[in-house]
């Protein structure tokens, strides 16, 4: 973490560019804001994983409880139907939908291990405040997939 700032260039506008050595190019902000990452307390990485098996046009409710204070950093997932899934994320402590009240398609919401969908800024969940995720299969046939919430969980 300590060398992340060496790879980031702060513009006069306050935005950051990040030298992504793995891609060999200077990209506009792609990872969460490095200054925000530096403010995270010591902790451990955590992947919360959910298997999705949904009949056509049905909804599945998931409950995510990290136990400790956690910061959502990225969302990954996949599904096997072209029409796909959609989801909303509700923070039970703050009583709000994290990304707004409108459901978002997985294409616009999740990434993969190679191209994770990083949140533009880490989203903090208080300890023992469950996150409710409502996933809907939009397709007219049954579908399955996996949803993965990558986060940083506060340590001891």
């Amino acid at each position: 973490m300590f060398d992340l700032m060496d790879e980031a260039i702060k513009l006069d506008s306050g935005d950051h560019l990040i030298w992504q050595t793995n891609r060999g190019l200077l990209s506009p902000l792609y990872l969460p804001d490095p200054e925000k990452l530096l403010t995270l307390p010591t902790g451990v990485p955590r992947w919360q994983t959910y298997q999705l098996t949904l009949p056509p046009q049905q909804t599945q409710n998931l409950t995510v409880n990290f136990g400790r204070r956690s910061w959502i950093l990225a969302i990954m997932g996949n599904f096997d139907q072209d029409a796909g899934f959609s989801a909303t994320f509700f923070d039970s402590r703050k009583k709000r939908n994290i990304f707004g009240n409108t459901r978002e398609f997985f294409e616009n919401l999740v990434g993969t291990g190679q191209n994770p969908a990083w949140l533009t800024t880490p989203y903090m969940l208080e300890a023992n405040s469950p996150l409710f995720i409502r996933v809907t299969n939009i397709a007219t046939v049954a579908g399955s997939g996996q949803l993965v919430i990558y986060s940083h969980m506060e340590g001891d």
């Binding site: 010591t42 919360q48 291990g113």
Partner: protein, 160 residues
């Protein structure tokens, strides 16, 4: 010795470990050979190869121990013809990195597009990592934890 560590009968280290579920992993320091190859400062990949045996749906990959230096884990990569295989990581503190197994496609990248672990994770010297892979019989692949062996760890990072 930490709660989940066990003594290796070959190299006499504490590189073996047992998970909360009772799974016993062989020594991460010598991989059961009795010989320990200590890495140098600089780039370091800890590589786990797996093949799921016939008649099985999971395999415990031999554990690996972070030797000689603290290790800053920066990238996760995996190669397999079946990236739907799922992984579960455990370390010698007993911490499981995920609640249920994660598909390789959603957990790791590749050499061309690695998954950048943010924030980077400092694994202290003598940390042992154990991986269990779930998939169909005959599936095989390789998982690598890519990072840097650190000679001098900034004080701010030593509390992880």
């Amino acid at each position: 010795m930490k709660k989940h560590e066990m003594k290796c009968t070959n190299c006499n280290s504490t590189g073996s470990m047992q998970t909360q579920q009772g799974q016993v992993f062989p020594c991460g320091q010598c991989q059961g050979t009795g010989a320990v190859n200590r890495p140098e400062v600089g780039p370091q990949d800890y590589v786990f190869e797996y093949t799921i045996p016939a008649g099985a749906t999971q395999v415990q990959v031999p554990a690996l121990t972070i030797l000689s230096y603290d290790f800053l884990l920066k990238w996760l990569v995996a190669a397999s013809a079946t990236l739907s295989d799922q992984v579960m990581l455990t370390d010698n503190t007993g911490y499981q990195w995920m609640n249920t197994p994660v598909q390789l496609a959603n957990w790791a990248g590749s050499g061309q597009l690695p998954f950048p672990l943010q924030p980077n994770l400092l694994l202290k010297k003598n940390t042992t990592i154990a991986i269990t892979v779930y998939g169909a019989p005959g599936h095989s692949g390789e998982i690598a934890l890519k990072g840097i062996n650190l000679a001098d760890v900034p004080a701010a990072l030593t509390t992880n």
